[in-house]
Symmetry: D2
Subunit: 135 residues, 4 copies
């Protein structure tokens, strides 16, 4: 399942551009890891909010996929920033909170990792839908 997920991520040019890696992909947790390269920063030296948002969007969508399959689209999500993100790596972990046949509500936590210590930097919550209804 992880290999299948990695393949999908590798087909997303934007994920390749950013350097994201799928590091866990199961019914329990989806984890996307993003080395915090200089190109991902904003003007004050922290991770750009857009990079955290990318992680939220993608981890929530992959989590929705574990419940709903591949033919999905992300309806939307909310992200709350908690503190500026600094470190070597960003890690997003998402999971399904509840799923029906047409919609999954998912949650995501995003951590900055510095010297092996994870600090929570943002939380997100979103809704993933099937692209058309199950027959």
């Amino acid at each position: 399942m992880l290999a299948a997920g990695k393949y999908i991520l590798s087909q997303q040019p934007f994920s390749v551009l950013l350097g994201a890696e799928l590091t866990q992909f199961s019914m329990d947790v989806v984890e996307i890891t993003l080395p915090l390269r200089q190109t991902l920063l904003q003007q004050f030296g922290f991770a750009h909010g857009g990079a955290l948002s990318y992680l939220a969007d993608n981890a929530l969508t992959f989590a929705g996929g574990t419940a709903l399959g591949e033919a999905i689209l992300t309806s939307g999500y909310t992200i709350n920033y908690i503190r500026p993100a600094k470190g070597e790596t960003l890690v997003a972990r998402a999971k399904v909170i509840s799923a029906g046949s047409r919609q999954a509500v998912c949650g995501c936590e995003i951590f900055a990792v510095k010297d092996g210590i994870e600090t929570l930097c943002a939380v997100a919550q979103g809704t993933i839908m099937t692209r058309s209804d199950p027959k």
Copy 2:
């Protein structure tokens, strides 16, 4: 004011990586334009949700800056995707809905532009705060 905004954007390595350009920056509207290069797509050939999210995050923050100044941080935002984004360019337009001395609520619309025609692809709403209180 536009020149000052362009300078800030040029200091964000992530915005430079994506190729974003500040095309309007006034009290009335903040506009960020993003040529939809192949590197910004997802696996189905549409703009990646993370690229739309980047635009929402940054346009909302710049809009908050028009009301609150430079020492701000984005508390969070919600994005709702409306339809897959395809075209030559993405354009995000944000404005202040209401601002006090410590917080601004801003709204943002994101369009895909194809053959000069704009199609609304996502809407976002968020809150920007001052970094510390005005003395």
Copy 3:
């Protein structure tokens, strides 16, 4: 159409308990008016956030109904409070931002009215879905 909407509202015991009235109901705008009785306040004498939230939830849902019909459910919404709400009346105005066959994204503004002057107190944005897919 307004009469049909008023009938639906009258069938919601919660809307009757709060004293809500549907004052506009068209493809262009849904307006729900709520006299700001003492029972709707919080401990500081302002409208309770839950009363503003009720208005957002219901006005967004009615707006979704203008695009999608009656067999709908509200997927979720975001509300941002702008200032404490005080006055004789609360007025929520919602409209469809974009609608497809299965989903409508709607926006809502909530005003407090005092001496005939409207003050924006909250803005909301949400997603309404059809209950099952159109045949």
Copy 4:
């Protein structure tokens, strides 16, 4: 602490109107219980979304209060509905996800309780701010 919280709730006319009760109030969890009386329903016999929203708004705010004190205001929140709520009682449990000196991000789950069995019906996430900065 629970007694102090119950007193605050009793000073909210809207909470009294709805019949809400504060059943837990600690740094770990805030729980508000709402008997699902007929007056809280919508036209299909389920709890009105506005009643679930009230619970989210109030439980998130009380949770923020455990971290920030009493002089707070709710910046905004997002609620995602998961399934229609039916039963004898609604229970909202909120907790602080992360708190600084000026802002707390809180999460909330809302359950319908029927025959003693809890079913998750909605999840919410919101931001609570201090009313003015700590001196």
